[in-house]
């Protein structure tokens, strides 16, 4: 079975800024795939090229079996695309928005009506069908946008930061809906700046500066972190962070809530080395222990490897 999305060496340049830099990626059918990266990593540009609305400068991409350069209109008919900004009509009702989008995709009327009921039911929007979209809450707007993206039964769903700016409860709701789609044969490629959202994806690619730093499952990515991860609980996180810079074998340290995640190169008793160093620097410590690297640690490590400071 061929991949739902396969990207090879895709590039896009805006002026002197390389937004997407030779990206290779493969998304399997029925998968929920996450593009994880900070703002400006190139997620939106990449998704727009896959949606056929931005022409790549180089490379190739097949989406739902269609070439985005040679046949962008063929791609458009087979995918659902949810832009980062709310892109529906605030002065039209939920029903009217759905009808309009359905006719843009030439969904037969009877099927569109049936699908509409089904989708609104699934998203819990049925009671609001006659409400103008502009009067919906942020979470409901995103669900409506999702319904619109699904009304023509696309094979691939491209979602650009679908839950940015949405409250946590609605976000969980949204993902509960997404989780049901692969069973219906829909492949999902979504982008997100949030680490916690990544855990809801089957596989991920970590994106920064237009490049894929690594890809795989959450476990694979976290397991790929070299060295030892330590968690340091201290009331003086800032002082600890500064003192750590002079510790031999120190690779990185990142604040995590009220603790510090420190990555040291392998070798020796890392906990003892670190404890001794910080105590010598006069930093008060509550606890130091080794931990399994999390996805975020992997990201920090990858970013550091990317551009050595």
């Amino acid at each position: 079975m061929s991949a739902a999305v396969s990207i090879a060496g895709l590039r896009k340049r805006f002026g002197s800024h390389l937004a997407v830099d030779a990206v290779d990626l493969e998304v399997r059918r029925g998968e929920i795939y996450g593009l994880l990266g900070p703002d400006g990593a190139g997620k939106t540009t990449l998704l727009r090229m896959l949606a056929g609305i931005l022409t790549p400068d180089g490379g190739a991409a097949l989406v739902a079996g269609r070439d985005v350069v040679a046949d962008p209109e063929g791609v458009k008919q087979r995918i659902g695309y949810l832009s980062q900004r709310f892109s529906l009509y605030g002065d039209l009702t939920i029903n009217e928005n759905l009808e309009f989008v359905a006719s843009l995709y030439q969904t037969p009327r009877a099927e569109a009506l049936r699908l509409r009921e089904e989708l609104l039911e699934m998203c819990g929007l049925a009671p609001f069908a006659r409400r103008q979209a502009g009067r919906l809450s942020g979470g409901m707007k995103q669900k409506l946008a999702l319904c619109c993206a699904l009304i023509h039964r696309p094979e691939v769903l491209l979602l650009d930061e679908p839950t940015t700016g949405v409250d946590p409860v609605s976000r969980r709701d949204f993902h509960r809906i997404l989780a049901r789609l692969p069973d219906q044969g829909v492949t999902i490629l979504l982008s997100s700046p949030y680490m916690d959202e990544a855990s809801r994806c089957h596989r991920l690619a970590l994106l920064a500066h237009g490049r894929v730093l690594a890809s795989g499952t959450t476990a694979e990515l976290a397991g790929g972190v070299s060295g030892v991860m330590l968690e340091v609980l201290t009331p003086a996180a800032r002082a600890a962070s500064q003192a750590l810079a002079s510790l031999p074998g120190h690779l990185s340290n990142t604040p995590f809530g009220d603790s510090l995640h420190v990555r040291l190169s392998d070798g020796g008793d890392a906990v003892a080395r670190l404890t001794a160093h910080l105590q010598a620097a006069g930093v008060a410590l509550r606890e130091v222990r080794t931990i399994e690297p999390a996805l975020e640690d992997a990201f920090v490590a990858l970013l550091q490897a990317e551009q050595p400071a």
Binding site: G52, K76, Y81, R85, L88, Y89, D91, E96, F100, S103
Partner: protein, 376 residues
């Protein structure tokens, strides 16, 4: 074109949900026409005139008496010279002057055309042309009665004295006015171009501003379906404006359309197409709705007011402006609209203008369509 009706319907819903644009589209013609209608009516009742009688004969005095008897003309005294009349105009104490030069009576008796000069304050351009026609008419009618009296006094048949009278109207400050009532047909054009261009100026840039353009770009809808679907509701709206404007002109101005109304409506549609194209063009070019609407008003209203012959006859313009005016669809529509409404002529007489307007409309539409891109 399968998706076109959906786009048109969506655009119609936007129009219905935003009462402001509907009110503008249907209210503006009413307001404009009423304003013009009442302004003209008001001024005619107050047409104050002064007399310069340099002939000082029985005939000249009789003519002054007869003109003073016209109810709509308000006599406000005698003046010595034309210069004095001009001063009274400047002080807004009179807006019409009748000058009878020495030799008026002698010319009348010798059955030569007797000269009567009528001065009109043309500073208020929109009413001066009405006033001019009106004053000339009033003086001519008074003159006619004068001749009838003379004929009776001299015991000769009236026929022999006919055409022995000549009114020479002159408009001060604004000499280019035509004497015909041409405001209504002109207003139809002005309203059409103003509304069509400003309403359509939003259709593309609004979607870009709201972010919904991305939805359209990512859908399989074609550019042609989008353009036609988006313009169609405005074409319908503009048509109702033509009906409204012509109807109001009829009711308020009493300007009874002389020609074929269907022909007028059909040609209005061609004209509207040019304005819609301009609006669409600026909608594609501009980054914000604000800019788009300002650009389209600048590009339509200003040239239509100044160059198209709406207020100033094109033939009195410098050659460069005359050439420029021919490039405006509005110039041709003014001719067409006046020809059909006032003169009642058909295609046979106005086909060069129809052809020019159609070609210009198509060229503008082509330019707008070329500017339209279904990409981000």
């Amino acid at each position: 074109m399968k998706r076109m009706p959906a786009v048109a319907w969506k655009e119609t819903l936007h129009l219905l949900r935003d009462p402001r644009s509907l009110v503008a589209a249907l209210g503006l013609p009413v307001v404009l026409l009423l304003l013009y209608g009442y302004a003209v009516d008001f001024d005619l009742k107050q047409l104050r005139f002064v007399v310069v009688d340099q002939d000082r004969t029985a005939s000249s005095r009789q003519l002054v008496e007869l003109v003073r008897a016209v109810p709509q003309l308000v006599y406000s005294g005698h003046a010595e010279t034309a210069d004095e009349v001009e001063r009274l105009f400047a002080e807004r104490r009179a807006s019409m002057g009748m000058i009878l030069v020495p030799g008026f009576e002698r010319a009348l008796k010798e059955r030569r055309p007797a000269p009567v000069q009528v001065l009109i304050d043309g500073a208020d351009g929109s009413t001066a042309q009405i006033a001019q026609g009106y004053a000339s008419g009033a003086v001519l009618a008074a003159g006619q009665r004068l001749i009838e009296r003379e004929a009776r006094a001299m015991g000769v048949p009236l026929r022999q004295l006919q055409s022995g009278f000549e009114v020479r109207p002159r408009v001060l400050y604004n000499p280019n006015l035509e004497s015909r009532v041409f405001l209504v047909p002109g207003l139809v054009g002005l309203i059409l171009v103003m509304l069509s261009a400003s309403l359509t100026s939003g259709v593309v840039v609004r979607e870009r501003e709201r972010g919904s353009f991305e939805l359209l770009a990512a859908s399989p809808v074609s550019s042609a379906e989008l353009i036609v679907g988006k313009l169609l509701p405005y074409l319908v709206l503009a048509t109702s404006d033509v009906v409204l404007a012509v109807g109001m002109g009829w009711l308020v101005f009493g300007v009874v359309p002389q020609g074929n109304l269907l022909l007028l409506f059909a040609l209005s549609l061609v004209f509207v197409l040019s304005a819609l194209a301009l609006g669409l063009f600026f909608s594609c070019v501009a980054r914000t709705q604000q800019t788009a609407i300002q650009l389209s008003i600048m590009a339509t209203v200003v040239p239509t007011m100044t160059l198209s012959g709406f207020a100033f006859p094109v033939r009195n313009m410098p050659l460069v402006l005359q050439v420029l005016a021919q490039l405006l669809p509005a110039t041709h529509f003014m001719v067409i609209s006046r020809a059909i409404i006032l003169k009642g002529v058909g295609l046979a007489e106005i086909w060069p203008n129809v052809l020019a307007m159609t070609v210009l409309s198509l060229l503008l539409m082509r330019a707008a369509v070329r500017k339209f891109r279904k990409t981000l």
